[in-house]
């Protein structure tokens, strides 16, 4: 009985808002005023962060490895683009939801294929699905515009009130609001009993099944939710850039996404957001060194991260803040509780 209460208390304590989290979001709001000449790159960080958050939901919390998460991003992007081009739903927020739902449906259908089998077949099935969709988008060029992408996307004002401006201020605030709302939802999901059961599955599926967690159903649910998030990220991309071309499905997009998440760290929701910021800055620096060959450095970063070891890297980065934190808290130190290793 007492053990149960401790576990519950711990879960609740984890779910409480810390000052670092509040500072993070305050800084995000402040960025609107601080970097007023950098809205385009900030917008990119926002949707990339949301996209990485969606991968974190399945990779960090449920342990599903995906090499084809761009599939859902692409479906979201094309849905938003098509809705705008054909004037079916002109209002961006509604279109965003519809695009997310379209990706969600795909996520639900494909989840049955993905949760089967080993990590290796997961990798290949997800990769295969993304390639399949790219091929479809390429072949049905009368609908998707093929290699040239969708032409003539124009996005109406948000809620009929806020028009997208040339500098991208509206776009950035819009992305940030969507990101924050979906982040709150994700935070609620992962801290709920449902989210805890996912972590149990990630750490040991067999044991999770033995204590009565319906493993497959939970995995299908989180995969579907993650697809919804990725679809929204894709739709944000299309709405803020007025672009939807074949490269939304590309393998590089899925691979870059893995890098984003790995930079930030998996399994605590902020990883994707921090990773997105770091990744975009890195990409900017690399392209200013060698405009055409920035991918080389991205590759090098990936190789180095793996060779150093992800855990070791995070420990290195987090050493200083943790040290300060411990000094701060030395008076009433509590034993730290870990929820097992991240995958």
């Amino acid at each position: 009985m007492t053990a149960e209460r401790t576990v519950g208390d711990l879960a609740l304590a984890r779910a409480r808002w810390g000052w670092t989290e509040i500072a993070f979001w305050l800084f995000a709001v402040a960025s609107i005023f601080l970097f007023s000449d950098r809205y385009l790159i900030l917008t990119e960080m926002a949707w990339l962060g949301l996209f990485a958050l969606s991968l974190d939901l399945i990779l960090g919390y449920a342990g599903i490895v995906s090499l084809g998460h761009a599939a859902f991003f692409g479906v979201g992007a094309y849905s938003a683009g098509l809705l705008a081009v054909h004037g079916i739903i002109k209002e961006p927020v509604l279109a965003l939801l519809v695009a997310g739902l379209a990706a969600m449906v795909l996520g639900f259908v494909t989840s049955f294929l993905v949760i089967r089998g080993s990590e290796l077949s997961q990798l290949m099935v997800t990769l295969g699905i993304a390639l399949l969709l790219r091929e479809l988008a390429n072949k049905f060029s009368n609908i998707t515009g093929g290699f040239d992408g969708l032409q003539g996307i124009s996005i109406d004002p948000i809620l009929g009130l806020f028009a997208f401006d040339l500098y991208g201020k509206t776009g950035y605030i819009y992305c940030l609001v969507v990101l924050f709302v979906l982040f709150l939802l994700a935070r609620r999901i992962v801290n709920s009993p449902f989210g805890l059961s996912l972590r149990a599955i990630r750490n040991n599926p067999l044991r999770a099944a033995a204590i009565g967690i319906p493993v497959n159903r939970r995995l299908i649910a989180i995969y579907t939710i993650s697809a919804f998030y990725a679809g929204i990220a894709g739709a944000l991309f299309t709405q803020t850039t007025a672009l939807a071309s074949l490269d939304v499905f590309s393998f590089e997009r899925s691979a870059d996404l893995l890098l984003v998440l790995v930079i930030g760290g998996t399994g605590y929701l902020y990883g994707g957001l921090i990773g997105a910021v770091v990744f975009r800055i890195l990409q900017d620096v690399f392209s200013s060194w060698t405009p055409q060959f920035w991918q080389f450095w991205i590759g090098l970063v990936l190789v180095l991260i793996v060779l150093i070891g992800r855990d070791r890297m995070y420990r290195g980065v987090l050493w200083l803040p943790r040290y300060l934190f411990q000094l701060f808290r030395k008076a009433h130190a509590k034993p730290a509780v870990s929820d097992g290793g991240a995958p």
């Binding site: 294929l113 990590e119 091929e135 479809l136 072949k139 590089e252 893995l258 055409q292 793996v306 060779l307």
Partner: protein, 289 residues
């Protein structure tokens, strides 16, 4: 009838090429469960080495082929000993990240050094044009591919089935722990196999430059094909990937000829269906892992 035969012939040539390219990957995956997405980079290395030798240094094509094999095998050996070796026991995610990183680096490095345009190897006159076979004209180059790859396949099969090294390798694939318990030096077997597989990929890259096209994006473009061969064929035998390659080659050529609108769609669908239906591959045995 003629077109059917031509398609079959081209498909077989294509499939055999794919087999030579991918069989190294099948062994890596089967032996160490290592997800090597950078396998195509070794093939690209072989292709470019051959191209530079033939086009710039004037080395005869048939001399350049074995050099491409040896060079890629050496690159493979060095990479295995210096980098890959440390990652065998890491999670598939780490392996995937690492090899994607390698792919990105190799793609941009080759792009930087050789330029991004497609490269052609100057073929000797013997290999150009067509030859009359049973009253039907077939490309000489493709005929040579079939002959070389067929001989290689036979050789591989013989090595695997008859030699001591082959039985060590098979033992290590079946159960690495028991094999090392019996005194088989599994890491050594693996290093040699990795190098040999990389060499074969390099040879395949050199041979395939004419058929598949050779540009810096080769490792990315053909990654999925290699994975299909391995997943469909299973990684426990050599006949599995071989049959899978032939099937894939013929299906791809026929698909492009008869239903060009669908393109690669058919192949991806088939791969996913087979993965769902038989996760260990069409010809694979149920591995005890």
């Amino acid at each position: 009838m003629t077109s059917l035969f031509t398609i079959l012939f081209d498909g077989v040539a294509y499939g055999m090429l794919l087999f030579v390219l991918a069989c190294g990957l099948a062994v890596t995956l089967g032996l160490m469960n290592f997800v090597n997405l950078a396998h195509g980079a070794f093939a690209m290395a072989g292709g470019y080495i051959c191209a530079v030798l033939v086009n710039n240094s004037g080395v005869p094509f048939f001399v350049a082929l074995p050099i491409a094999f040896v060079a890629s095998a050496l690159i493979g050996l060095v990479m295995e000993q210096s980098l890959y070796k440390h990652l065998y026991h890491r999670s598939p995610l780490d392996q995937v990240l690492f090899t994607i990183g390698l792919v990105f680096m190799s793609v941009t490095a080759v792009d930087y050094i050789m330029g991004s345009s497609q490269i052609f190897i100057h073929l000797p006159d013997v290999l150009q044009g067509q030859v009359n076979l049973f009253g039907i004209g077939v490309g000489r180059y493709r005929l040579m591919i079939i002959v070389i790859c067929g001989l290689l396949t036979l050789g591989l099969q013989l090595i695997l089935a008859k030699t001591r090294f082959g039985s060590r390798l098979r033992a290590a694939v079946d159960d690495p722990r028991a094999a090392s318990g019996l005194g088989i030096n599994v890491p050594q077997v693996f290093a040699l196999t990795f190098a040999f597989g990389s060499g074969l990929a390099g040879l395949g890259g050199a041979l395939g430059a004419e058929v598949l096209g050779l540009d810096p994006y080769f490792p990315l473009k053909f990654m999925i094909y290699f994975l299909i061969v391995v997943t469909v064929g299973g990684s426990s035998t050599i006949t599995g990937p071989f049959l899978a390659s032939l099937l894939l080659g013929i299906a791809d050529v026929a698909g492009k000829y008869y239903v060009p609108k669908l393109g690669a769609f058919v192949i991806y669908t088939v791969m996913i269906v087979i993965l769902i239906w038989k996760p260990n591959g069409l010809f694979g045995r149920t591995a005890a892992r």
